[in-house]
């Protein structure tokens, strides 16, 4: 199976306190100051890579690749490090579409990815359900729409049925749902897809137990990742409509947390919840 995993470099959410928004007109900042922030791969995309690797290997002998996983990102040269990280984890190839953040919104990214899909020819596009920076959760669904492919969002479990279809368990509002989807398809994943039983794929014996979470890249794999192919394409060369449909007008940091109060009795707590917080 050939799988394409779109991948995004995001600001490390653990350093969210380092985010600074310079104050501009009307109290809104023109941009978010990113200097000094640490960046990492979007965790949901890392889960997608893990799931993609499990779908293209025999888990008892993961060094022999039985399929192909290509990771793709849209961004500047600094994103190459993120791609190299995914290659070290086990992805086979990488593509970067050269663009700056200011040139992009979710729709442009989806259009660019659709072009990359046409060039790479995957059977499956697997990606995080959302990125942890903008949280818009739009790229996967928009890409499926552009491709005219079926999509399953919020996957927590994927079974390769071996006959050109996947059985996907997804989290919905009212519980879990099992969806059979014909390939080619777009699937967006949650963290649980990287848990021990997150992926079932025939070459891996049912008795094999994966460790929970994304696999670690040993040093030899990190070194070999430098030699794996990383192709850079220009956004302009893909022939996509690059008109922004989302414009950021300004930014402001969330209000600082107010100091708490201690209550003496349950009655006082209920009174405050009801009359001050109006939560009940």
């Amino acid at each position: 199976m050939k799988i394409l995993v779109p991948f995004k470099r995001v600001a490390d959410p653990e350093n969210a306190n380092k985010v600074k928004v310079p104050v501009g007109a009307n109290g809104l900042g023109p941009k978010i100051e990113t200097t000094g922030m640490e960046f990492k791969p979007n965790p949901f995309d890392e889960y997608a890579v893990e799931a993609a690797l499990r779908l293209t290997e025999n888990g008892t002998a993961p060094k022999a690749r039985l399929g192909e996983v290509t990771v793709v990102t849209v961004g500047g040269p600094e994103a190459d490090q993120t791609l190299r990280g995914a290659l070290a984890t086990g992805a086979d190839k990488a593509v970067r579409v050269e663009a700056t953040d200011e040139q992009l919104d979710g729709a442009i990214i989806a259009r660019a990815l659709a072009k990359v899909v046409a060039q790479v020819g995957p059977d499956l596009v697997l990606l995080g359900k959302q990125t942890v920076d903008t949280d818009s959760a739009q790229t996967g669904p928009m890409l499926a729409e552009l491709l005219g492919w079926p999509q399953v969002t919020f996957a927590v479990q994927i079974t390769n049925e071996g006959n050109g279809s996947l059985l996907v368990t997804r989290n919905g509002d009212g519980g879990v749902q099992k969806v059979r989807v014909k390939l080619p398809a777009v699937v967006t994943v949650e963290d649980r897809v990287s848990y021990s039983g997150g992926v079932t794929s025939p070459p891996t014996p049912a008795t094999h137990k994966y460790a929970d979470g994304v696999r670690f890249a040993p040093l030899p794999a990190i070194m070999q990742a430098k030699k794996k192919p990383l192709e850079v394409k220009k956004l302009a060369d893909l022939g996509v409509d690059t008109a922004l449909s989302v414009k950021y007008l300004g930014f402001e940091p969330p209000p600082a947390r107010k100091a708490g109060v201690k209550v003496k009795t349950v009655a006082e707590l209920v009174d405050k919840l009801k009359n001050e917080a109006k939560a009940i």
């Binding site: 990492k40 190299r84 070290a88 990190i222």
Partner: protein, 381 residues
Amino acid sequence: MPNPLYESEIHARLREQARRFAKKEIAPNAHAWEEAGIFPRDLLPKLAAAGIMGVGYPEAVGGGGGDLSHVLAVAEELVVHGESVGTVVGSGSHGIALPPIIRGGTPAQIDRFVRPVMAGQKISALAITEPSGGSDVASLQTRAVRDGDHYVIDGDKTFITSGTRADVVTVAVRTGGEGHGGISMIVVEKGTPGFTVGKKLEKMGWWASDTAELRFENCRVPAANLIGEENAGFLAIMMNFATERLMLAGNCVAIAELAHRKAIEYAKERAAFGKSLSGFQVVRHKLADMASKLAAARALTNEVVQRHTQGEQVASLAAMAKNVATDMVTEVCDQAVQIHGGYGYMREYVVERLYRDARLYPIGGGTREIMNEIISKFEGY
């Protein structure tokens, strides 16, 4: 934190892996393991599966490649993000136990003693120090007498890291006459009749790492376990010392990094007299001094590690790096406790534990005074 002069993208990738591992597998249990004085044995296969155990060892012996700079980068991430020095040093005892076997051992010895450790199945330890002497290796008294296809070992070893659990112990023994020319290295396996583990020693720090006394009484070990040539062990021990001292200097940098971070965090959170502690110049300057000394020790350690990996003989420089780093970690941990005030004296705060852990470093792997003697000798004073 990592310096691009000394660290490549490879180090950065590797640090990410080690950080993720530490947060997932060590940090959640760090305090409990340290308080219980237990080393979690099942961490070893996990370290091996994640490719961390083999960092710094050739792929030909089951390792993952890389050099001492990679070892230090990984250890720093494990300490800073796992927050348990005992766990990290306990899982790293092979760092001193295996190199003599890898350098001087036969392929059969490497298969038997090195590979299972790299795979996380066995634990290795290095036994040099004796109750009657530590740094004075040339005077060691444990004897190994050849008897047919065996050596018969008699003597005691002490302060052996991972000693209570070790399956494979690289032991320094006297096979020849007095002095450094009569010393050999031999591997003793757990279960060998006559080899007993005395007791688990109660220590000031490094609680999650066990330390033991080992006893050899009429202990018959196959002659095939001798590493390299008979009576040629002293050089192997001395070569190992330089690496060990740089690893210890790296530990000091890592511990100080963590203590400094904890101190900053506390100084920003804690309020006194209507402002945060970091609002006081005296506290900010303490933090600035800590950061400066840390940067200096880190720079020297990095430089000596690089010169070492490039093949330079660094016995004197390694001793300097160790002393600079141990002085630094002693002061940084002391100041981190000071900034924490009463809480810094409480066991539930990490800095209290780091303060105790740090006290080992001017002693272990050769005392501060021995380091100065080495420097004096090499510099020809």
